[in-house]
């Protein structure tokens, strides 16, 4: 696996995640093979590839959600801001690195409680502060105007797109540095999708975003960097414009041009 090292060195960007020789095994199957890459601060990095290529698994490595699976074995190094995440406390890591899932999964509580869940779990009890956090998070997620007069209503009454933005707001409430998104728009209709995409573009200013997508157009629309995975290998990692205009690898070219999916 070769990455154009000269290319990356040119970047003066700040590195958030540094991944070195990452291997991941599910019981006897290797799901990720020797991944090396960097993720840069305040940029959107898109992970693309055919389904089953390991992109979601890779994403779940970054906030150690794979720990929950007993059969999963990980070797190699993932550094978060210079610190090996293996030595980090998962609770601390996950407050810094938030995650949005493929299916909108709000808790069956009120909209307010959904967003206050994270801060409350960290021991924040002050009502005024909680109110402030809820309102700001909803505004950041561009949902506030739609729900401002029904914050106490059940979150399950929202539409799919609203639910997904609620999940993003819930994640923002903790003030993370980095947000992982696992195909956040795959369960949404086109209008909701475009809203979420707009949101991602806005959030880029304050957050580092890593987004898994099966939709190449989406990757070109929202991301600054693109990583292309296939069968557990990282085939190519580059700036999005360059990746799509001048792919270095033949496999990338084939994928972009739709030779296989």
């Amino acid at each position: 696996m070769e990455i154009n090292s000269t290319q990356l060195e040119e970047n003066k960007e700040e590195v958030v995640f540094k991944i070195k020789d990452l291997n991941l095994f599910y019981s006897n199957k290797q799901a990720l093979k020797n991944i090396n890459m960097n993720i840069y601060k305040n940029k959107v990095t898109a992970l693309i590839g055919p389904s089953g290529c390991g992109k979601s698994t890779f994403l779940r490595c970054l906030n150690r959600m794979n720990d929950l699976n007993d059969e999963c074995k990980i070797t190699g190094l993932i550094e978060y801001e210079g610190q090996d995440i293996k030595d980090m406390n998962t609770i601390l890591l996950r407050t810094k690195v938030g995650m949005v899932f493929q299916q909108p999964n709000p808790f069956p509580m009120s909209i307010y409680d959904n967003i206050a869940y994270g801060p409350r779990c960290q021991g924040l009890k002050n009502r005024a502060t909680l109110d402030e956090i809820v309102v700001t998070s909803l505004k950041e997620a561009a949902l506030y105007d739609e729900v401002k007069d029904r914050l106490r209503k059940s979150s399950l009454s929202l539409s799919g797109g609203q639910q997904q933005r609620l999940c993003i707001a819930r994640c923002l409430a903790l003030g993370p540095d980095c947000i992982l998104m696992d195909e956040p728009t795959s369960a949404l209709d086109p209008i909701a999708t475009s809203k979420v995409e707009e949101l991602i573009a806005e959030l880029k200013e304050n957050y580092t975003i890593i987004i898994v997508t099966h939709n190449m157009q989406q990757a070109t629309r929202v991301s600054d960097y693109t990583a292309f995975f296939m069968l557990g290998d990282l085939i190519e990692f580059n700036k999005t414009e360059e990746f799509f205009s001048h792919p270095k690898e033949k496999k990338s070219y084939d994928y972009i041009t739709g030779r296989f999916s």
Partner: protein, 360 residues
Amino acid sequence: MQSDIIKQARIEIQRKSALNAEKKKRKDKIVRLFFFFITCICSLIIVIVAGFIIIKGLTPFFKIYTENGHTGSMSFSYFFTGLQFNHGYDQETGTFMYGVGFLVVNTLYINLISYIISIPTSILTSLFIARIAPKPLKKIISTGVDLLASIPSVIFGMFGLGVIVPLVRSIGRAMGLAGTSGISLLAGAIILALMSMPTMISVMVTSLNAIDESQIKASLALGASKTQTNFKIALKNAKSGIFAGIILGIGRALGEATAVTMVTGSPIYGITANPFDPTVTLTTQMLLAIGEATPNSLNYDARFSAGLVLLVIIILINFLLNNIKDIVCSIDRKPSKAIIFLKQLFTNFRNPCYDLKKLK
């Protein structure tokens, strides 16, 4: 976009998170350990119950009891061969004679009769509910089965005494048995059948509902009638579920005490084959005159021996039926090692030259 308050609050959250993360991890571990501990306690109940039954059930054979001016322990041979639960003291051997073996025979006999009633009824009823009945009838009968399952055993016993016993009496009188009171083995078997049927039916219906619909369609496409399909393909496909239902029902029937005690009477001794005679089984003997037995007396402890025998029977029958189920249901699958071994054993038995041939 972010106001100062929010920045402050978020920094505060992150700070708290960093501060408390380790503590939370420790707490997680403690909570997990606590739940594990409780689970262990819950699962230890089986060990406690089995342990007490085994120890208390074996004690009478070894401990020396003093009762009615006699001293001794329980007779081992009479325990298996005796025809009375409490036959008093045997001067010759210096042991108390408590018989349980005949109770086993009675228990198995009454259960056998109840299975003759319950198993065919359950199979046909569940087939009816799952495949034959029109929708409204299906709902009525399955609700009825659910209700029957929720009726406590003591109410079954009362019903038996009030309805089944007079019924059996009149049948007996009609058959020329003038002396029968209706309190009988047959009444007990009928009650047992009624009580174990709901369990059997609900398991069987579940498995009949779960069978592969394509098999049914294939059978219909081959020209079999709907009824033939139901009886041949559906029943065959749900075989393992039907067996599971039978095993569960038998388990319930074997352990049933109150209802049977109320309708089978309390004869003191003997094995009876006549369905119109009163009978005494393991469970009824354990319940009979319990008020008169003081704890730690031999009369009380002998009931533990009966309980031990009951548990052994339940486990044996379960084991046996599960093996039969495996054999019957594994026609397509590879037979297990035990079955291969058994088959070889039988071939060897029939053909002594088998090994020799193999050697040559």
